[in-house]
């Protein structure tokens, strides 16, 4: 079970660290931490005409958290807010739905599915998505 948790796809995502580093020209930022485990992310986003054009993040967290941030760094640029909200919903479904149903979840998120079984780690994966959502809806000064 845990072996799958740290499957190659996740390790590669974390390693790649897409979007790592702060964004100098951010239109919005959010800083979020998980007080229960100490993971912390500062996420910047640049939005133009309702579209995310760039994303940057400074992530201090576990492999799962870094993989999730990296996923965003790859997927968010070019996407609309609505599209990212849907991605967040897919991830939530993947982790929290009573029964695992991957039919509605995009393939690139599936490597996160073993996290389902580890409730204490859900927060790690969700934190970057929550930070993006907060930056888009309730931005703080970067």
């Amino acid at each position: 079970m845990s072996a799958e948790l740290y499957q190659q796809a996740i390790k590669a995502l974390a390693q790649a660290a897409h979007g790592a580093g702060r964004l100098p020209a951010a239109s919005a930022s959010a800083k979020l931490d998980n007080p229960l485990c100490g993971d912390r992310i500062t996420l910047d986003v640049a939005v133009e005409d309702g579209k995310i054009i760039a994303i940057g993040h400074d992530t201090r967290g576990c492999l799962l958290c870094r993989a999730a941030a990296s996923w965003l760094g790859q997927a968010a640029p070019g996407a609309t807010r609505a599209q990212m909200a849907v991605a967040h919903a897919e991830l939530l479904a993947l982790l929290k739905q009573d029964a695992l149903d991957t039919s509605a979840v995009r393939e690139s998120l599936l490597p996160f599915s073993p996290v389902r079984e580890h409730k204490s780690r859900h927060g790690c994966v969700l934190l970057p998505f929550q930070a993006l959502e907060q930056a888009l809806t309730d931005p703080q000064a970067g």
């Binding site: 931490d33 007080p35 229960l36 485990c37 580890h118 409730k119 204490s120 780690r121």
Partner: protein, 405 residues
């Protein structure tokens, strides 16, 4: 499902094991514990014991899940909006102190808090200490001749400086149930919050905090067939979220540096340190059991016993019942005085008959003063009591009078 008294009694180890049989009528002080709570605690300690929240190994996850499931069970019992409104404390008293400190910190000198003259000391003395700390004005809602909280008096009492009205849901002396709707209406008209002390209510069935329309609700596990060492503060999440922390320590912080700290959101903000984990799990089990019971039947059963008790007491010479003598808006808690006999002597002699009754001021000295007494005898009935318990008490009282006079 209908209520099976004998089967239910058998689910309470102390009642089942007591030899000679015990007529336990001190349920307002503490109820006996239901086997589901005992079992849940033992199971937790034997199979899932670990600290919660921060562990990633399976045992710690199982412990965290059990603790949060207990929170969800409390939320269901209270019909809370969300489990995040449920703060575990070590008891009703600590829940009430939490509000007096955290909510109390937002009060200023000259702000008013109204409590009733029928409050348990646990919902009175914390406000007296807050008065000392901050200069609030503490006002007292009077009680009627038979000890009921007189909500109509709020009209003349609550001003625009009133910030909180804190009353008991049910009196631990008279069994009278407070007209919460009237309190809430008066509070809303001046913009005050309403705190309800549910310590004596929860053993008589699930509560609906949304329907009550209140802001804070507090109770203890040991009075509703659950363990000692655990209690609950329920509050609207927005209120909790605006309140500063009270106790500080592990589990309730965000970032900590020597210079200062940030705090977690509720409920964690108010659960400093390792909480009473096994006890929360035990309470969750007791409340789940309570939630499934046929409360219509049980209320009729409790009222039948209450009626027998009131009628029997009325026939004894020199007995004065404190509080309402009818069956309206009350629970089966009955305090009474026997002319010339001190409650401790009365209860001592009753013990010979296997009848467990409490005598004293019941932590409600202002109400005792209202009745012109230092103390009283109190019989308090729980769902597992039987007519035999009432009869043993009434028979015992004849002996009491003979022995002590």
């Amino acid at each position: 499902m209908s209520f099976d008294l004998q089967a239910t009694r058998a689910e309470f180890p102390l009642l089942a094991l007591a030899k000679p049989p015990l007529h336990y009528l001190d349920n307002a002080a503490t109820s006996q514990i239901h086997q589901s709570a005992l079992q849940a605690m033992a199971d937790h300690d034997m199979f899932r014991r670990a600290n919660i929240m921060r562990g990633t190994y399976r045992l710690a996850e199982a412990a965290t899940t059990a603790y949060e499931e207990a929170r969800a069970r409390v939320a269901r019992f209270l019909n809370a909006f969300t489990p995040n409104e449920v703060v575990f404390t070590s008891g009703a008293t600590s829940a009430l102190n939490l509000v007096a400190h955290s909510f109390g910190e937002s009060l200023r000198s000259g702000d008013e808090v109204i409590v009733s003259l029928a409050e348990h000391h646990s919902n009175l003395v914390p406000w007296q200490l807050l008065r000392q700390r901050t200069g609030i004005i503490l006002k007292f809602l009077p009680v009627t001749a038979d000890g009921r909280i007189d909500a109509t008096a709020l009209a003349g009492l609550a001003t625009s400086r009133c910030r909180l009205i804190a009353v008991t849901h049910c009196s631990n002396v008279t069994g009278a149930v407070t007209d919460i709707a009237a309190i809430v209406a008066a509070a809303r008209s001046v913009g005050a919050r309403v705190l309800v002390d549910g310590a004596q209510q929860v053993q008589h069935g699930p509560v609906d905090v949304q329907a009550l329309g209140i802001d804070f609700y507090a109770f203890s596990g040991h009075k509703c067939y659950g363990p000692t060492g655990i209690g609950v503060l329920w509050a609207r999440h927005a209120l909790l979220d605006a309140m500063p922390p009270f106790l500080a320590g592990g589990g309730m912080v965000g970032e900590v540096t020597p210079e200062g700290s940030t705090f977690a959101r509720p409920p964690q903000r108010f659960e400093a340190g390792t909480p009473p984990i096994a006890q929360a799990v035990g309470l969750g089990a007791a409340l789940s059991w309570l939630t499934t019971l046929p409360w219509g039947d049980i209320r009729r059963h409790e009222q039948r016993l209450l009626q027998a008790l009131l009628a029997g007491l009325a026939r004894k010479p020199g007995v004065r019942i404190l509080g309402p003598t009818d069956l309206e808006a009350r629970h089966p808690v009955v305090s009474f005085d026997i002319a010339g006999l001190h409650p401790h002597d009365v209860c001592q002699v009753l013990d010979r008959h296997g009848v467990a009754l409490r005598g004293g001021h019941h932590c409600a000295q202002p109400l005792m003063q209202h009745f012109g007494l230092d103390g009283a005898n109190r019989a308090s009935i729980a769902l597992y009591n039987s007519l035999a318990d009432i009869e043993a008490l009434l028979d015992g009282l004849d002996d009491v009078i003979e022995v002590l006079r």
